[in-house]
């Protein structure tokens, strides 16, 4: 049962991250490799605010960290992705890889590679004689709320409509006057803030290291593939399931076993099924 909860937590974080990937993918049709590093960036920003600047309230630090990380995401998009948007997808991919390199090395240079402690408190609550970490509960609650809020707004708000329009056909959306740049910036902001939240949760659990985001990146990729690239619904459910299974694999085997198993599973799923489970039906002609 503990395993299940822990798996759900890991799964929630993976789902958060994968969700960010899916959001950006569905709008821009490219895999933003730098997204994994945003988790790390967000966590370090929170660290900076809380420890270095000494903001007394942890919640405030988190809040501002999310805002700042969101802006960082937007800024990255403007510098590294926007100029390449109408060029080639491969360029955007390479650019995101370059950004990921830059972010990782910057973090190593500024903060060093030894783990930093984000918080010395890691509160737990005990319910029905089982102990849970508060952050686990928070993440597990926030995720469905966010999911519902997001999907509702996709369906019922102007912005949501704009996002759907851009996702289905960017050129036409621009043609009918949707402010693509604004919407894309907003999406990056959302995705980056969520990643920051994930980073903070991770930071509370372990320490902060420059490469903390990378591992989750790879897992988020696996989920993205299984759920179908760009499928935001799929990654939320898939992420949770994946987290649970991953946790069991780690518990019974090892981290390596889990990684190997997941790659094999992804490959097998693709081999047999030929696409993601929630894949928007793309006609392969």
């Amino acid at each position: 049962m503990d395993n299940l909860i822990h798996g759900l937590t890991i799964g929630s974080i993976i789902a958060f991250v994968a969700f960010g990937y899916a959001l950006i993918y569905s709008i821009l049709r490219f895999i933003n490799f730098a997204h994994g590093e945003i988790i790390m960036v967000g966590a370090y920003i929170c660290y900076f605010l809380y420890h270095t600047l000494g903001i007394s309230s942890f919640f405030l630090s988190c809040f501002f960290a999310m805002l700042i990380t969101g802006m960082v995401g937007v800024g990255l998009e403007k510098i590294a992705f926007k100029p390449l948007r109408n060029r080639s997808r491969l360029s955007m991919l390479l650019s995101s890889l370059a950004v990921s390199l830059i972010l990782q090395s910057l973090a190593s240079l500024i903060f060093g590679t030894s783990p930093r402690i984000l918080t010395d408190f890691d509160p737990t609550i005990t319910v029905l004689s089982k102990t849970f970490y508060v952050r686990e509960i928070v993440v597990m609650i926030v995720l469905p709320f966010l999911a519902i809020a997001f999907f509702l707004s996709l369906k019922y708000t102007q912005i949501g409509l704009a996002i759907r329009a851009i996702a289905s056909n960017q050129a036409r959306a621009a043609h009918i006057g949707i402010p693509i740049n604004t919407i894309i910036s907003i999406s990056f902001f959302i995705a980056s803030s969520l990643a920051c939240l994930a980073g903070i949760a991770l930071g509370m659990e372990g320490g902060l290291t420059p490469s903390m985001g990378f591992k989750y990146s790879i897992w988020a990729f696996a989920v993205s593939v299984i759920a179908g690239l760009g499928s935001m619904k799929g990654v939320l459910i898939g992420g949770l399931l994946y987290g649970i299974l991953l946790n069991y694999a780690i518990a019974y085997g090892s981290g390596l076993f889990a990684d190997a198993l997941s790659l094999v599973a992804v490959a097998l799923i693709l081999l047999i099924r030929g696409k993601g489970f929630f894949q928007i039906k793309l006609r392969e002609f």
Partner: protein, 287 residues
């Protein structure tokens, strides 16, 4: 170890790798094998474990590693090349990480040690230069000959057709998936070969050569200079081997080796970003 020999060997080995990735995979197909370094690592891993743990003859270990590389690339290709290229990219990157992690788990971050070099018809290859001339050069020459020869076959035409226009290829009844898988396997063959030879050269494996960071750099270099001519491939190899050494020379940073490693990584990242932003305007790279 003789410094010049080491540099020469590195150049020759990366020449083979970049030939596989640049000339074949990027030049003759639309497959983006960003994690191609996986096969370099795989080559070293298989050669290392077979020779050190099982005492297999080095040549046979090399052969085995190449076969293994082909099989793995075939499976990955089969799973993902029927689909949109992004799926393949993910699998490619995941594979490279996986192999790196397996190598570290299996033998630690220092990799294998004590790989014994093979003999060449009885001649010991312990001397670096002897190894280069008798073991590396033949493979490099073979690579060059095979590459040039392949371009004269009708098969080459099909590869280019599939790369450029899949619908037209299907009209002519060529299954694009077959050809993409084939070219990917060929590219992986060269990568595994070069990785295996590398481990024979340094008498061990070095997992630090298999990080995604290195893989991405090699990918970028292959893309930028290794697609058209073999001279370009050589240039790419030279660049890849020389650049870090020159940078290390220039950036004599105070502090630990990790510090300069990170600075170099940062410089590479920035350079890569700049190059990508600039060359994106060149039509050749539009796809």
């Amino acid at each position: 170890m003789d410094y010049l020999a080491s540099v020469s060997a590195h150049i020759l080995l990366y020449f083979i790798f970049i030939a596989g990735l640049g000339k074949y995979i990027l030049g003759k197909s639309s497959v983006w094998s960003i994690g191609h370094i996986a096969f370099w690592g795989l080559g070293g891993l298989v050669v290392g474990s077979l020779t050190v743990d099982f005492g297999v003859n080095a040549w046979i270990a090399l052969l085995a590693s190449v076969l293994f590389g082909i099989i793995i690339s075939f499976l990955i290709g089969l799973a993902s090349l029927r689909l949109d290229g992004d799926y393949f990219v993910i699998l490619s990157v995941s594979l490279s990480e996986l192999i790196r992690v397996i190598a570290i788990e299996y033998r630690g971050p220092g990799g294998f040690n004590g790989i014994i070099r093979p003999t060449f018809f009885g001649v010991s290859l312990e001397n670096d230069w002897l190894f280069i001339v008798l073991a590396l050069c033949p493979f490099v020459i073979a690579t060059i000959i095979i590459t040039l020869r392949l371009e004269q076959l009708h098969l080459n035409r099909i590869f280019l057709l599939v790369k450029e226009n899949e619908i037209l290829a299907k009209s002519f009844r060529y299954n694009p998936v077959y050809y993409k898988i084939l070219i990917f396997c060929i590219g992986s063959f060269f990568a595994t070969l070069s990785g295996g030879l590398y481990s024979l050269f340094i008498r061990g494996t070095d997992p630090s050569t298999t990080t995604l960071y290195q893989g991405v750099l090699l990918f970028a270099i292959s893309l930028l200079s290794g697609i058209n001519t073999l001279k370009g491939v050589l240039l790419g190899a030279l660049l890849f081997v020389a650049a870090p050494r020159m940078l290390e020379y220039i950036i004599t940073a105070p502090g630990s080796a990790t510090y300069s490693y990170n600075i170099i990584q940062l410089v590479y990242g920035i350079l890569l970003l700049i190059v990508v932003l600039l060359t994106s305007r060149v039509p050749v790279y539009q796809k």
